[in-house]
Symmetry: C2
Subunit: 109 residues, 2 copies
């Protein structure tokens, strides 16, 4: 099961990397230590709500958008987990491939 800090952390990292910004740059803007920001991105430390707001500010990112992306990631992960659970139960490579195909179809909607 994915925890909130893990899904938020990986989304923060994705936004920072998409902007081609360094941990040092964002940590300075958000007034958080580089090490702590790195731990947050890796989902190892919880960010307080104030700190999260500050990191979002530094990334010029709306908290609403971050939460929306996190929600989408969690649904996607639950979908994959559910599918792979069924495939594992079936214990059949061909079944797994079929599920892989279904997944692409659904995800490309």
């Amino acid at each position: 099961m994915l925890l909130l800090r893990e899904v938020i952390g990986s989304n923060l990292r994705a936004h920072r990397e998409h902007q081609k910004r360094s941990l040092r740059d964002v940590s300075a803007s958000a007034r958080v230590s580089l090490g702590y920001l790195s731990e947050i991105e890796r989902g190892r430390k919880e960010a307080s709500s104030e700190l999260l707001a500050s990191i979002c500010d530094a990334l010029e990112l709306e908290l609403a958008d971050l939460l929306n992306d996190a929600s989408t990631d969690l649904r996607h992960r639950a979908f994959i987990d559910e599918r792979s659970g069924v495939a594992e139960t079936a214990g059949d490579k061909e079944v797994r491939l079929v599920f892989g195909q279904d997944e692409r179809e659904v995800l490309s909607v």
Copy 2:
């Protein structure tokens, strides 16, 4: 500005009340003290990711849905704040009424 713990807390409370469950009931299921759960619902304490997962379990609520609702609330709040900001700048009751009407139109889409 709304903080994450405030918007999550009020959504947790709304879900609990919608299910007509008491703080005592949910706190026992989620294995958190009644007082702490109450503080979380009021946005006064941060819930760790593990505790949040536990409260969601107790409410039979997907974390993805909670985050999606929180995202929607934040957008709604930002929209209202923006509108009232413009109306206040205009300092005119009639302008405020027009904005109120726009708001209902947009919200009813």
